[in-house]
Symmetry: C3
Subunit: 133 residues, 3 copies
């Protein structure tokens, strides 16, 4: 069964922690052991898993991604002026999975699941399926 | 069951839309609800999902990837002169999935599935399994 | 069933071939046909699939990743001085899969599965589930 989460982002580039939303899906479906599959049906935002302890990590990752793919470049041809966002999203990825064991997401001590927004603010969707083992 | 698609690429770097090939696998196998798993058994091409409306997106993504990983660098040690291709492919990724609902791939309005070629022209393979829910 | 592999890395940045460990899990579980799901519960190392023939590929990929995300930058805010490692890991990815057919991992001729370390040396874990078709 496909679950849909709506995420409202509040900046051009930001990372929104969606761990509790995914955990809620696992809990509601009473999954003891399985795998949660996560997908964003967008081309300028992505999913990644990252540290949730020091917000400096998100600041620095977004800084590096802006350097890798600058917002403006006279050679860009895309008419919407968000070419950088597309590249940044493809580098992070649109489909990821996380294991579930004993009713809990198997995340490392510092890991959280993020929607990585690169062309906000917008309203985004995250699609999830949870497979039982 | 493993399905194999052959994709012929026509440039050193390019993106080939394979959405209809994947859709054909879903249709032929009469999958109503499930997940399509996509994999490329290569090290210098990848799969990504991106916008299929404005071809400027592909132009700009490939431009950025060339800047991130230049074709030539005197410090490279790899004997085949395609080190950049390896890095570009790893950044896009070799394994991705897309959900299937009501017999259709669950893609966003602007999303298409691409084989991203970074060391062509070549003949490439895309491997697919579709899991029913 | 969740399988855990321990990987000891020996440099700040390096790639460790874990293909034989994954293959051992497939063999031990007597999987004929299925999919191996791989996950690292960390935020500064990743999994990627790459060439195992010429070690120059790994050298050049790590060189490019250092250029994309330099170890030091006066604008970084993260207190642990490993911001680059986080970005590099997110770009390579934490969750990947490889198909299994006839009891073997379906890898291309030159493909091997790597743990990509970006903040070592450390002791890392790789989590694996294998789904039968």
């Amino acid at each position: 069964m496909l679950h849909e989460i709506t995420v409202r982002t509040h900046a051009q580039a930001c990372m929104v922690d969606i761990t509790s939303d995914i955990w809620e899906i696992v809990r509601t479906n009473d999954i003891d052991s399985g795998t949660a599959l996560l997908y964003v049906p967008h081309t300028t935002c992505a999913i990644t898993i990252q540290e949730n302890a020091d917000p400096g990590v998100q600041h620095d990752m977004l800084l590096l991604l802006r350097e890798i793919a600058p917002r403006n470049d006279s050679r860009y041809r895309h008419i919407e002026d968000n070419s950088a966002s597309h590249l940044q999203a493809s580098a992070m990825g649109f489909s990821h999975f996380v294991f579930v064991e004993r009713g809990r997401l198997v995340l490392g001590r510092w890991q959280a699941i993020y929607l990585a927004e690169f062309d906000g603010p917008r309203v985004r969707q995250v699609l999830t399926k949870v497979w039982r083992d």
